[in-house]
Symmetry: C2
Subunit: 113 residues, 2 copies
C-alpha cells in the first residue's frame, strides 16, 4: 500500500473569538513586509489588489489595533506598512509557528499512522 | 481596548500530501460513529446527504484504505460504518488533538498577546 501519513497543524491567532491571523492572511502579511506594498504582495500571490485589501480590512477589524496601514507619500506612494502592533503579533505568530513545527516533527517521527 | 487574544491550532492528518482528516470532516465522522447513519449525521450538521457523501468519498480517496463504508441490510438499512482503518485513524486523531489542546492551553497561559 505504501504512502506517507503525516500530521499537520495550522496556527491561528484569534481575538475575541474572531480570526486575526491564520495560514491565509499570514502569507499576505509576509509579502507586504517584504515588498512594502499591497499591490506587489497581491501580484506575487496572484490575487487582486481589492481582494488583498478585503483580507487586510477583515484583519484590522478583528484586531484590537490596526495591523496594516496605508503609508502616504514617499517614492511611488501608496505603500503599506505593518503597525507596531502588527509587527508584534507577526513576531508572536512566528515564534508559535516554530514551536508547533517542532512539535509536529516530533509527532511525525513518533507516530506510526 | 480589552478583549482576549488566543492561539488556536487545527489538526490535519494527511496522506501523501492530501488531506485525509481535518476539522471539517472529523465532525461528520464523529456523527456517523454516533448515529451509524450518514443521513442522520448530515441532518444534524445541516448539510445535504449528497454533500456528506462527497466529503466521505474525498476522504476515502485520500486514504490508503476506505474510512467509511456503506452497511447493507440491517434494521432500517442504508447505514454506514467506519472501517477498522477508519476507527484507528479517528482514534489517532483524538490522541493528537488532546495533546495539541494541552499545548494550546499552555501557550495561552504563557503568552501575553
Amino acid at each position: 500500500m505504501g504512502g506517507k501519513t503525516e500530521v499537520e497543524f495550522h496556527v491561528f491567532i484569534n481575538h475575541d473569538g474572531r480570526q486575526l491571523l491564520g495560514p491565509r492572511n499570514i502569507i499576505l502579511l509576509r509579502e507586504i513586509v517584504r515588498s512594502g506594498s499591497v499591490r506587489t504582495a497581491a501580484m506575487i500571490l496572484h490575487m487582486s489588489y481589492q481582494h488583498a485589501w478585503t483580507i487586510i480590512d477583515e484583519m484590522n477589524q478583528a484586531a484590537p489595533h490596526p495591523v496594516v496601514v496605508k503609508q502616504r507619500g514617499g517614492i511611488g506612494g501608496g505603500g503599506a506598512v505593518l503597525t507596531e502592533y502588527g509587527q508584534r503579533i507577526l513576531k508572536e505568530f512566528h515564534i508559535i509557528e516554530a514551536e508547533v513545527t517542532r512539535f509536529q516533527k516530533r509527532l511525525n517521527t513518533e507516530l506510526n499512522l
